[in-house]
Symmetry: C2
């Protein structure tokens, strides 16, 4: 089971960076762990596939309270439920976090392309990455709730 | 708003072909339409991103009854709820339908790569393709329920 720690580090860094610069939100990364069972769950998730020399997928899963606080901070107006604006913001954050990590990895010689993201809504839905590679889960804490990033990317 | 009809035709053909050969299930395609609002909903969905000369994403959304009948036929044993085997089968069908369509399109000169699929579960979840390209929905009917394929792929 091969895991490239540089991949994990880049996605952690880009998540903190994008949330700080785009949504004025401080996110603290918890300890990454390998998922052995269970699936990411949340009320809204962004999912994006990756191709190229390394293939995989990344998801970001938020509770409703956590994403509404992030998007309220992002736009400077209150959002109280997961409407179309919030969904679009989740898609945009997914795109930017994946793109920022891929740019850093490209500078290190890893060529990875990002696909078009999808946004899933539905109370307490679950996401399973269909891959033979390990799935790494990284929990993040913000002042208004937690979210989880999951990454499965071939080493 | 550009739509390449060859893309739609290839995904319709591959869906019918893969379900017939892998799951011994006859699927009849309804009339494709452009989604102007609303989102695909289902109890289980497979999602796959695409990159290359044409970028986008494809989803397949099934009701629980429909996918359980398909997977029961696929494995020759009864499946009554969406367990891990059913989720894996949705991931596999998503991969094969996308791969079969991409192979046909490659023969016509369209180079498209497929990412790793994800499988979403959760009663009545919704999926939104985050793209500036139109989203085409194609309803399919089987003897045991209906499902929908959604495709957003840049022309």
């Amino acid at each position: 089971m091969n895991i490239n720690v540089e991949f994990i580090n880049s996605f952690v860094r880009s998540t903190v960076h994008v949330l700080k610069t785009m949504a004025f939100t401080e996110a603290r990364a918890g300890k990454p762990y390998i998922k052995t069972n269970g699936e990411a769950s949340g009320d809204v998730s962004g999912i994006i596939g990756m191709t190229g020399e390394h293939e995989g997928s990344m998801s970001l899963s938020f509770t409703a309270a956590c994403i509404c606080a992030i998007v309220s901070s992002m736009f400077g107006e209150p959002f109280e439920n997961i409407n179309d604006d919030v969904k679009d913001a989740v898609g945009e954050l997914t795109n930017m976090i994946c793109g920022d990590a891929r740019r850093e990895l490209e500078e290190k010689g890893y060529l990875i392309k990002g696909a078009i993201p999808s946004v899933v809504t539905g109370n307490n839905h679950h996401i399973k990455h269909v891959s033979n590679d390990p799935v790494i889960a990284i929990p993040f804490a913000t002042g208004t709730g937690s979210f989880v990033l999951e990454l499965s990317l071939s080493a």
